[in-house]
Structure formats: structure tokens, C-alpha cells
Symmetry: C2
Subunit: 626 residues, 2 copies
């Protein structure tokens, strides 16, 4: 039975292009292994330590949180230079991008978590971990107050405080309900592993409810109406997973109610996946339409009760009440109370989200750093510094800036104000000195301060804030640990851009999101790697040689920053790859498998995740409510 | 790292006898497959139905519970003859013998459960399952009242009632606290999958607690004192699993508290595993002593509070208070309130446990059957029927019974009163007619009623009640479904023993526990099977050819009924095999792996359990608290 179901599933994929697919599977797994191998190699590549630094008293670093940002910071920080203590209410790191897969049992919760102690064990056992929640940051006294979330079996109320020299806040964000009434009480979220486990149980519950005796048809229908609020990548992926779970597994064991199931995706914007390329949005909408997933765009949820939710259709202004069996709320992120309280202390009380400078240091604080979803980088505007820049560049104090004077400072400008580069790209300017041309496009020998201002006045509009994603958080953690490790060295030999409003250089280069991190590592960096080369080429060939209806490769249309995936169910996915490549279809799903397998935090989770996928192919998903 | 740890673990086993072990692994897996294959074949072996029966209106059968008894009943019942409805608060069947493994993550909870709907799907979809709890049996009106355990999202209070023609009670038992104060509030149990999951979390919690800052040494010690009450197979297996979990996995990631850990096993009797052979008891006690697990025999727990438990040492009469971090209570089974209420209705209010006759029908009821842990078979005493037996056997009404007259009824006696056979074995009598010899052992031609009574008066003392095990429950389910399926046929052509107190025969043979079910199927039945033959011989050869210090095979000493296992940790187990073989050591653990793998309810769980074991060997157990 199971074997035949597997063959049935497999045959539908192998149907068209068996050779390509077989090659892809092989290559997918092997490349994952190789990349993982090269990852693990890089871990051992440690910068040699300054001897003086060793002799000094170790500074205390307290890290709050063990998510992407916290964990990647811990992986690289030198325990020989710092006393590191970590606080988190969860003693594990979770590979959150796979949470939607956990909701339907495609992947087990335990396959995507790795104990923090396993991660810090590799760091010579000199990092201390405490399973507790930080309840207050006392910035004035350099202390954090923590409370154990274990039951209070032991003496006291489980509270303790830790002192720090440096504090790293990486506590992540909480769900943003936009103060919609009833959301906290009646909706499911998808932030934590527990959320995903609860959601899985609730989906099964909805089906078990619907087949109980003595219910009306309406009640059965209501119980099987699954509503997802938020058409971002998480909501879309959950909708797709749920659809697959129901159609591939649940319909067979609940045949009596299979025609009553309904999935609705509510999106306030005009399109789902609206942070993705338009082609991906419409591909996803078309796929969902074929699958029978209702997409309600331009709708706002006004409130959620136990049995129904009220929705306002923006264009008509009408309000509908929709009965539901389960609502999943996935609409962006909000600030945690701990961080909100800390923001008041450092004078950021009027901001929506904690701001750091480009070096991830919290604004208004000297020794507190914040990274990941709990903070945002407040990129300095070039117009704020325009006078200092002009003054610094005008070395002969002539009151005008020549092209060569400008060329002397341009590298520092590009590092300090990355929006300049984005502006150049948006204007299709090849060279930064082209900025100095006059409005008609003619070259100028020099510009005065007013002309210089008018040239740069639009640059700041291109300032971009980084998305709240795992990739950004992980890179920030690594960046910060590198800064910590090289603090002494960079104080003596600064390597950042020059200070326009002061003298000398910044100690470090500002944080910059490495846009090619995810996918390009497979396509370019991987190819350069000697061992991986042949396999990566195979991937490329398989990928590019696939027929166009199976793999919609479209060429660059406009500049895009980040590579990102959106699995759409039915073994199809969409991806925006670096260089503005857009890819959709079955092959993208295989690329997704490959990337997600290789990006796992340990070999254990890698093996578990891959075997979970294999198990799902062979036996389907489990519907036991445990 | 992981690979090297695997090699280290593996090498310690392969060290002594690599060839034997390799063969064992291979053979273990293959034999599991083959036995499972032959299992699945037997499912298709359906008795042809009586046409008359089909034409009659289908009788309604309601089954309460989806444990071992309920599930094995459902697997075989003919849906063409009965309308079957199943009620259970859990929509899955759990392979309970592996629960102790789940507590420490050796096996995942999801690997030992199979959705009930998957099991009944194979029965042509004509069995209805409702996820609800039966709250009352209304025996007078042939009704059961059920309440959905899902949240009351839908109309009403989730209650509904079902009518039945036949009711099958297979709800299992609850834990027996012997009314010890504080046990329900402060102890962990090991009856359900949820219990095992909670216990796993609590073990991790105890360690996380113990490493929090600001605790005294005493508090840390208390948190890491694990107490198990009950030295039966479950308690012993949990103690062994916990010891392995701590020594193999937790000590490495909590090195700072490794010397504070203490495991104590409290047993009221003089020895642990006291239902097993003495050699196994002392082997287990010695092993636990070497492992540092404290075994306190002859102790009674008087009460359990949040932080300590008070224990009375029976021999001294003194009472000690012992601080603990976690207590697991595993001391036998008690009756559920539902069954207790039903017992009042059928006049069994003064009994401790629900009694059925030898055909599993509840005493005092015509159409209610009870099987598994919730009931016990009340074996009829031969002395109650002694006059009828004598009268029925004395065909010539001579007032005396000759040997040949006795021989005419002896087969029926043996079937109806299985204690006779046990009595013969205990007296080492080869032939049943030897019973008629006089007290000096001389043959007698005939006996009168008084002599007959004196001959049989000790027989009833050998009456044995069946243990509350998975094997018994499963066999009862299968037996009862066969009776149901052949009801009409056996009414017309009875096949049971003759009725001594009435005329004719009993319709069915009484239930008899198939003592060779577990292990002998591997050693004898398996060998007969054509396909499995060669592999089974390999097992036997490997098993028997192992050196004696590695495999303690001891020959029969006294008669024993059931084959049973007791895993003792450190890849060692003890087993009582049929024919009074006692086996202990590493090889027994491999036999245990083989038996438990093959006895899984589906291929899915079989693959999952085996891969969990493999994962544990390679990566160890996970310590994430999810």
C-alpha cells in the first residue's frame, strides 16, 4: 500500500523527465553534503589572537536569545577573550524556515531543533547557558534580570541577575496583531516550534470534530474552514502545506468530509507574496486558484471570535462574518515587551522598533548591541553629513569640489552610505563620478556645496531597511562576533571608512548584508570550490536544461537584493535568486530541498530533515494527534 | 564528531565477536521483515461468510478503546456482518511496550503511534471512528454516552450517545496509586504517550534547573535525584533508559553537575523484577549496582510532596524523607471510573476488577464483552462443577467413575478448566488418568465421588490470572473478533467443550493465552515457514553459538508460562523465553530489537522505530526541551 502510494507519487514527477530528475536528486544530496562539509571546514578557520588581549581581564558578554542571530554569534565568539553567558527560555536553536513544514508533519519538530548546549559544547565548554527568560534589562547598572521558566520547585522565585560588560540582544520579535480584537485568544501563530506543534494538533482536531455524530452540515463545514491571515511567505507556505496535507493524506482517511474542506487566504494588499517579484505573485495566485485555495486580496480582518472572523473588503467597504474552524495569523512582526521597556531606558520610547547604528550598537547606549528581528539598523542619511563630507573632501579649502577631490573620498562614502550604490544602480550610472555631472548630463570640473547637495539630495530615498529574515539575523551574529574578536586589533589598526565629522577612521566596516549568501553560494562560490565544482556544474546544467514549462527562468528586469524561496505545494516552489533571476516550478522545489538540507545547523538535523522528507514520500504524513 | 562517536559506540560491541554481531544485525532486520510479511499475509486469510448471516440486519457493535485489545479486535472483525463504531479519546494506537524508550528519546513518540483511521481504512472504510471519551455505559438501555474531548467550538456540549447490540470494553486501566497521598499531583506515570513526552521534558528540566545560578549544592543534588517507585519491568526499564541517557548523552553537555546525579529505584518487595525468574532479578540487581543505580527493596512509599517523598523501610519500621527532583510512579494498574460505574450496574460492585467468563463476556451481562487490562477472566473452579462433572462422566450411573469413563470427558475438562493441565505439570504427571491413582500412587479401577473430589481438590489452586500485558490484550482482541465472525456458524455447529451442568456443547472454545506467541514464533514457527527458514536458522545458530559469558543460556528449571523481556540498559537485556529458557546480556538486547521491530503495527512505524535506534547509535539522544 505504502509502496504503491510512493510509486504513484514518484511516477508523477519522474513522468516527464526521469533522467533529469534522477540526476537532480543525486546531485541535490551530494551538493548539500559538500557545501555542509565546506561550512564545517570554515568553522576551524580561527583568527589568531592578540597576546596582549589574552592577558587582560576577560570582559563579560551576556547574550539574550538562541535564535539565528544569537546562535551564529555564539558559534564564532572567542571564549579566550570573553566570558560569555547565554540566556534563553528555550534550550535549543530552531531552524525556523521549516516551521510551516512542521505544522503538517512534513518534517518533525525535533528534526529542526538542535540543543544550544551541543552548539556551545564545541566552543570548549567555556560558554555558560541558562534556560531562563530575561525579564528586564537594567541598562544603567549593566545588569539583566532573569527568571527561570521551569516550575518553581527549587528555592526562591527562580529569579537571578547577571552583570555584563557587553550585552547582545537577540531575542527576536513577537507576532504583530495590529491590536485586532480576539487575535491573541483565537488565532494560531507561527513563531515558535510549540506554535507549529499546536497548529498540527488543531488541524487534526478540526477533522475529528467534523466527523462527530449529531452535527449539522453547516457545523461540519465551519470546522473544516481553515483561514490564513497574511499573504506573506509564511502564510502562503502554510496554506500550500495544508492543502497538500489534506489532499495527499487526510482525504483518504476522512473521505466522508472531503468535499467540505475550504482553505482561505486573506491578504490586505492587492497580491499575495507582494514582497516578491510580480511574476511570482501571479504564479502563486494561479496555482492556488487551480488548487482551490481561495485568495481574498484587499481584505482587512477587523476581529476574530471563537467561531468566526469579521472581514472588511476594502474596495466595497462591506463587512462580512466568516465562520472558521481555525485561523492562522501571520502578518509581520512586533516588538517584545522586554525590548520595548529597554527602548524607554535608552531614549527610543517613541520609535516602533529598536534602532542600532550600522555597527549594530543600540543608539543611546555604549555597550549594548541588538541584532536579528528585534532591532533594525538606522542607516545614517548622507544629507545629515553633507557639510562635513564636503569639508573633508575639499582638501584645498577652495569652497569647490573637483572630480579628483571627490574620487579621494568616494570609497569611504560608498562604505559608509550604502544607499549611494543603490541610487547609482537605480539611475543606471556606471561610475560614481557621473554624479557630479550637471542636470543636462554634461561633465563638470568642480561643484560647490549647493550643487553637491542637489546632486545627493535624492540618494537617501534609496535607503533600505533589511528584512526580518533568518539570513539577515545569522549574518549579523557572525559579523558582530568578528567585531568582538578583533576589537583590540581594530582599535589599533582601524579598518572602517574615515570619519567625516571627526578625525581618523571607524574601527570596523559597518555591517553589510551579504546578498549572495543563500543561493549564489551554490551557483558561483560553490563552483569555485575545487571539490564541489563538478557537482555544482551538474546542478546548473540540470537546472538550465529543463524545459521552459517546467522551469520558468526569466532574465533580469529590475534590481533586487535578496535570494528567497516560497514553496507553493504540490512539489512546486518559487524563488528569487540573486541577479534578479526568478525561478518557479518543480525544479525550484528541488533546489529548495537542497538549500534547506545543506543549511541545517548540524549533521544530526540534516540527516533527520532529509529522512523526514523521504518518509513523507514513502508513507505520507502522520495524522495521529500527539 | 558524530561519526567518531558512532564508531566508538559500535566498536565496543563489535570488539569481542565482530562476525557474530554483523550476522545478527543482518539477520535481525531481515527476520523482522519476513515475520512482518507473514503477519500481513495472514490478514488476508478471511473465513468465508455464511450467506444467511449476510442477509440478516447487521448488528451494531460499539468498541471502546483503541489500545492493544481494541485494535486487534478491529483488525479482524467482519464489517460485512456488523456495523462497527469505535470510540477513543485518542485517534491513534500506541505501541506501549516502547513507552520507556520514548521517555529518554531513544525512540520518538511519533514512531510508536499509528492513526486508528489508517488501521480501519484497510477494513473497507465501514468502521466508524469517533474521537471522544465514553463517560457512561448505560447497560440497561444498551447505550453508551460519549463526550468529545476536543474543545467545545461546535454547538452543544460535545456529548452524544450511541446504541449497541454488542459492546466491547477495551478501555485499559489507569495507574494504581494505592491511595498514597500526593502521588497524583507530584508523580509522573507511564501509561500514555503524553506521559512519556512529559517525562522526557521533566528530565531535561531537572538538569536545566540544576545548572541555574544561585542554587546551593543541596538544591542541585535534589533536582538531580530521580526516583522510580515500582520495580516491575516498566520501572526497571525506565531506570535503565534514564541511566543510559544521562551517562551517554547528558553528562557530556552538563559536565558541571555530572557527579550530583542519583537514580533510586524503590521496590516494596524483596527483589526487583519479582515476576521474573530469580536469576533475572539478581542479574538486574547486580547490573544496577555496577551502574550506580540505587535499589531500595522492602520499602514502602507513604507519601509524595512536591520536593520530597517519605519512605518506610519495612524491616526497620523507620520513616525517611528523601528530597527528589522527579518521581516516576509505576506500580500496577487500577480500574477506571467508567468501568467502576459499569461494575455497579452489572452487580460486580464489590469486586476489585471487572470479571468476565472464559469467553470474555462480562459476568452479569448478556451482550457486553471486556478485554485487555480493564478486565480479568474469572476462571470457573472445577470444584464448583465437581458433581455435574462426575454425573456427566458416570454414564452407567454406577456411582463410581472408571478410567475409561474418565477418559471420555478428560479432553473437555482440560479445555474447560485449564488449571488441570497446570496442576498436572506441577505434579510432573505425564497422563491425566494418573490423577485417579490412590494416595500411594497405585492404579485404581474406579473412584467414587468423594475420592474424585479429593483427587481434584488441589487443582483450583493452580488457577492463574493472566498478566496485564500487551500480548494478552492483543490475543484477546483477535480471539473475540473470531468468535464474533463465527457466531452463526458456531451456534449451528458448536465447537467448544461439552457443558457439564447442561446439555450440548459451548459454542466456542474458551479464550486461551497462546503462550508461545512472542518468541517461539521466531524460533519454531518461523523456521517452519518456508521463506523464513534459512534466516531463522541463522538466528538460532548465532544465538546458540555465542560464548557463554556473553549469552547466559540456562536450561529449564521450573515451568513458566510467558516469554517476556526486561531491557536493562547498556545494550543488555534479560528475557524469559518459552520453555523456561532464561537469557541475559547483549545478545538478548539484539533479540529484543528484532522482536520489537517486527511486532510493530505498520511498516511506517517499523521503519521509524528502526531508524530511531540507528539515529541514537550515531547521534545520541536529543536534549532539546520540546
Amino acid at each position: 500500500m505504502a509502496i504503491s502510494s510512493f510509486l504513484k507519487r514518484a511516477s508523477s514527477y519522474l513522468h516527464g523527465h526521469p533522467a533529469c530528475f534522477k540526476a537532480l536528486v543525486l546531485v541535490t544530496l551530494s551538493s548539500g553534503s559538500l557545501v555542509a562539509y565546506s561550512d564545517s571546514q570554515s568553522e576551524t578557520d580561527k583568527v589568531s589572537l592578540d597576546l596582549n588581549q589574552k592577558e587582560q581581564k576577560k570582559k563579560k558578554v551576556v547574550v539574550l536569545g538562541t535564535g539565528w542571530a544569537g546562535t551564529s554569534f555564539l558559534k564564532d565568539i572567542h571564549v579566550s577573550s570573553y566570558d560569555v553567558q547565554v540566556i534563553s527560555p528555550r534550550n535549543y536553536f530552531a531552524f525556523t524556515p521549516l516551521l510551516p513544514s512542521v505544522t503538517c508533519g512534513t518534517v518533525e519538530a525535533r528534526s529542526i531543533v538542535e540543543p544550544v548546549r551541543n552548539i556551545i559544547k564545541k566552543r570548549n565548554g567555556e560558554i555558560q547557558f541558562f534556560e531562563a527568560e530575561c525579564v528586564k534589562i537594567d541598562a544603567a547598572n549593566n545588569k539583566v534580570l532573569c527568571r527561570s521558566n521551569l516550575d518553581q520547585n527549587l528555592g526562591g522565585n527562580g529569579e537571578f541577575s547577571l552583570e555584563y560588560d557587553y550585552l547582545v540582544i537577540a531575542v527576536g520579535a513577537q507576532v504583530n496583531t495590529f491590536d485586532t480584537p480576539g487575535v491573541r485568544e483565537n488565532c494560531h501563530f507561527l513563531k515558535e516550534v510549540e506554535d507549529a506543534q499546536k497548529l498540527r494538533d488543531s488541524v487534526i482536531d478540526s477533522f475529528e470534530k467534523a466527523v462527530l455524530p449529531g452535527l449539522s452540515e453547516e457545523e461540519r463545514k465551519a470546522s473544516l474552514h481553515f483561514v490564513i491571515v497574511g499573504g506573506g511567505p509564511t502564510g502562503v507556505e502554510f496554506a500550500a502545506e495544508l492543502h497538500d496535507f489534506i489532499q495527499e493524506d487526510l482525504v483518504a482517511i476522512y473521505p466522508m468530509v472531503k468535499d467540505l474542506v475550504r482553505i482561505t487566504l486573506i491578504q490586505s494588499g492587492d497580491h499575495i507574496l507582494n514582497t516578491f517579484d510580480d511574476r511570482i505573485s501571479s504564479f502563486a495566485e494561479q496555482k492556488f486558484q487551480r488548487d482551490g485555495i481561495e485568495v481574498c486580496t484587499g481584505c482587512r480582518v477587523l476581529g476574530v471570535s471563537e467561531k468566526s472572523l469579521s472581514v472588511k473588503v476594502k474596495s466595497q467597504g462591506e463587512i462580512y462574518s466568516i465562520p472558521h474552524g481555525l485561523v492562522v495569523w501571520s502578518t509581520g512582526v512586533g516588538t517584545r515587551p522586554l525590548v520595548r521597556d529597554f527602548m524607554e531606558q535608552v531614549g527610543q520610547g517613541d520609535r516602533r522598533i529598536l534602532a542600532t547604528n550600522e555597527w549594530l550598537r543600540v543608539k543611546g547606549s555604549e555597550n549594548v548591541y541588538a541584532l536579528g528581528d528585534c532591532a533594525t539598523i538606522d542607516q545614517r542619511k548622507i544629507m545629515e553629513d553633507i557639510l562635513s563630507i564636503f569639508k573633508a573632501a575639499d582638501t584645498d579649502n577652495s569652497g569647490t569640489l573637483t572630480v579628483s577631490e571627490f574620487e579621494d573620498v568616494v570609497d569611504d562614502i560608498l562604505i559608509r552610505y550604502p544607499q549611494v550604490e543603490l541610487y547609482l544602480k537605480s539611475k543606471h550610472l556606471m561610475d560614481v563620478t557621473d554624479l557630479l555631472r550637471d542636470p543636462e548630463g554634461n561633465e563638470r570640473e568642480s561643484v560647490d556645496i549647493e550643487e553637491f547637495k542637489s546632486v545627493l539630495c535624492l540618494v537617501d530615498s534609496k535607503t533600505k531597511s533589511l528584512p526580518a529574515t533568518a539570513q539577515v539575523a545569522a549574518q549579523q551574529g557572525t559579523y558582530l562576533s568578528k567585531c568582538f574578536n578583533r576589537r583590540q586589533q581594530c582599535q589599533e589598526h582601524p579598518e572602517g571608512p574615515r570619519r567625516f565629522s571627526g578625525s581618523g577612521q571607524h574601527h570596523f566596516r559597518p555591517f553589510r548584508y551579504f546578498t549572495f549568501s543563500l543561493c549564489l553560494s551554490y551557483f558561483i562560490m560553490g563552483i569555485i570550490d575545487e571539490l564541489a565544482r563538478s557537482i555544482q556544474i551538474c546542478i546548473c546544467i540540470c537546472y538550465l536544461s529543463s524545459p521552459i514549462n517546467w522551469f520558468h527562468l526569466m532574465w533580469p528586469k529590475r534590481y533586487k537584493h535578496f535570494g528567497k524561496f516560497a514553496p507553493l505545494g504540490g512539489e512546486q516552489a518559487a524563488a528569487e535568486l540573486p541577479g534578479d533571476w526568478v525561478s518557479m516550478g518543480h525544479s525550484t522545489q528541488w533546489l529548495w530541498y537542497s538549500v534547506y538540507a545543506s543549511k541545517q545547523v548540524s549533521w544530526r538535523t540534516r540527516v533527520l530533515v532529509v529522512s523526514d522528507w523521504a518518509r513523507r514520500f514513502v508513507f505520507g504524513r502522520d495524522s495521529s494527534r500527539i
